[in-house]
């Protein structure tokens, strides 16, 4: 049983997020902006993992492709047009995902996890070793894209507040888009595939095509996150495609409880929060993070979004017919 956060809570959260830049705290604004980017990344993976049942351990590849794309497509000391580089980067990452999907979706289960990881590693090497990337040092996005259309500049991405609201708007857009898709006949097929792929096939669904579409879509949405990341930080390295990155985003999805878009967003915030807090305790914060993860898996199989449900069920005194 999924826990649906009621609309009022979602709007309240949105309002709180919208107020962040108004506080004037530059450090926190950038931190939350980065977290919002990760939230988009997490939602894109949730489409695959939580809704379609495809555990991809190489999702960072599409994040990185888009990030490198915007850096490479932007002139060195001039602003590229946002209305070109955004669709171009996202389209590119979707295309790469489509291509990779043709290979990896021939496998299932453990194999799938491994080959998605391997393809991400291949992408890593492409950006690390070939002229497509800038080697292990990475490349800079010196000038952020401009939003100018025919002389009119609706917003300025160099302005921290504008950039923040742009990211927030993208988050809302991705959330709305995914929500809609998941309610569509296409989305129901994906959920059916996760529940019982064999039965879907015997009912006449050529599941490979649906999975491929989901894979490409998730790649493109992950690309939106990668694009935004490059714009926020102005700097891209091969580390963006590393398996640590793939593992982190998977962790976010699981922490938030899979199959739940709000959960994915919450997972991103939880992960970033933990990272920040642990880093203040010790330089070896990954030790704490790792221990928390191990403990969470051993003792908390539903992820955090399942906690409200579990509390509710124990208050009601047992299972119910929903």
């Amino acid at each position: 049983m999924k826990v649906q956060a009621p609309l009022i809570l979602k709007l309240m959260a949105l309002a709180i997020l919208a107020c962040v830049p108004l506080t004037g705290e530059s450090f926190y604004t950038e931190l939350i902006a980065k977290t919002l980017v990760l939230a988009i990344f997490a939602m894109s993976l949730d489409l695959l993992v939580g809704f379609t049942g495809l555990v991809s351990f190489g999702h960072a590849a599409y994040f990185g492709v888009a990030a490198y794309a915007v850096a490479q497509l932007s002139p060195k000391y001039e602003a590229a047009s946002l209305w070109f580089v955004l669709p171009a980067s996202v389209g590119l990452s979707a295309l790469v995902a489509l291509f990779v999907g043709l290979f990896v979706l021939r496998t299932k289960g453990i194999y799938f996890i491994m080959v998605t990881l391997a393809f991400a590693q291949l992408a890593f090497f492409v950006f690390h070793d070939t002229p497509l990337g800038g080697g292990s040092d990475g490349i800079y996005l010196n000038v952020k894209p401009t939003a100018e259309i025919a002389g009119w500049v609706p917003f300025d991405l160099d302005n921290q507040q504008h950039l923040y609201y742009f990211i927030l708007a993208m988050l809302v857009a991705v959330y709305a888009f995914l929500s809609r898709i998941l309610q569509s006949p296409f989305g129901r097929v994906l959920v059916g595939i996760k529940s019982n792929e064999h039965r879907m096939q015997s009912m006449g669904y050529i599941t490979f095509r649906y999975k491929l579409a989901a894979f490409a879509l998730a790649g493109g949405l992950g690309g939106i996150a990668g694009f935004l990341y490059a714009v926020v930080f102005g700097f891209v390295t091969p580390e963006l495609l590393s398996w640590h990155q793939s593992g982190n985003v998977l962790l976010m999805v699981i922490l938030g409880g899979m199959g739940n878009l709000v959960g994915a967003i919450a997972g991103a915030f939880l992960f970033t929060g933990m990272q920040e807090v642990f880093a203040t305790w010790t330089k070896h914060w990954q030790l704490v993070m790792g221990s928390v993860i191990v403990a969470a898996v051993l003792f908390l199989p539903g992820g955090l979004a399942a906690i409200p449900g579990r509390i509710k069920r124990s208050l009601q005194g047992g299972g119910s017919h929903e």
């Binding site: 097929v189 529940s195 009912m203 669904y205 929903e322």
Partner: protein, 257 residues
């Protein structure tokens, strides 16, 4: 008129299946005719599951041909066969346990009009699929439990759900794997009535153990033993057959009707 009634919809010609050294099916021939119920019978291990799996596309044959309305479909996958008009229900529970009965069948119905690109339309507003699903659920006798989560249904009710799902895919050939399993005598009788009602426009293959039900509804019975067809013919012939009685001697199944 008789031409239509004798239309052979699904023909399996000498289908064979090996698993390494084990021969699960050898030169099996099955003819499924519109308006007729064909029952596949045999003791455990006779190869009935393998046979139905080959017909539904869940298992490719090692040898032999399968024809649907005259066209060779041996190479088609299960999904492709479903789209052509061959539907299958399963012996072991193979539904979507967390979805409601309605959603299970709606998904089955939706498969007939997969307009996947319409990503902004809402599944729950596709009235044609919902109406069709409700109709099939009624026909399978599960009308009272339309909004129940399918995972909590009884075993017999899940068999009914399976039938509803196959109906919703407009299957002209229905391959039903032990649809009466786990049902009490009253439920069985109801299901037999459903099958009789479905019969006229479809070709039905039944794999079944329940002898009473079998003889109540079968037009043809094929008995399999050790992967091969022992005998095939009308129920009276099979009932009287000495070879069939002997085949069942010494097995756990009994062949007393």
């Amino acid at each position: 008129m008789s031409d239509v009634n004798n239309e052979a919809l699904l023909v399996a010609h000498k289908i064979t299946r090996h698993f390494g050294g084990l021969v699960a099916n050898q030169d099996v021939c099955v003819n499924l005719i519109r308006g007729k119920v064909h029952v596949l019978l045999g003791p455990n291990g006779a190869g009935k599951s393998t046979c139905i799996n080959m017909l539904s596309g869940d298992l490719p044959p090692s040898d032999g041909k399968i024809l649907f309305k005259g066209k060779d479909i041996t190479g088609l996958t299960a999904a492709q066969r479903s789209l052509v008009g061959i539907g299958r229900s399963y012996q072991r529970t193979n539904i979507f346990p967390k979805f409601t009965v309605l959603e299970n069948v709606r998904l089955a119905a939706q498969s007939r009009k997969q307009q996947a690109w319409r990503i902004f339309s809402k599944a729950q507003e596709q009235q044609w699929a919902l109406d069709k699903a409700r109709a099939c659920i009624e026909e399978a006798g599960l009308g009272k439990k339309v909004d129940w989560v399918s995972g909590v249904l009884s075993h017999g009710e899940q068999r009914q759900l399976e039938i509803a799902m196959v109906l919703a895919t407009d299957a002209e050939v229905m391959l039903l794997d032990e649809p009466l399993a786990g049902m009490g005598s009253e439920e069985s009788a109801k299901m037999v009535e459903v099958l009789k009602r479905l019969k006229p426009t479809r070709a039905i293959l039944l794999v079944e153990h329940d002898m009473d039900a079998v003889f109540a509804v079968a037009d043809t019975i094929t008995v399999m033993v050790n992967g091969q067809v022992l005998e095939s013919g009308p129920p009276a012939q099979i009932k009287a057959s000495v070879a069939v009685q002997q085949a069942y001697l010494g097995t756990e199944d009994s062949f007393h009707v």
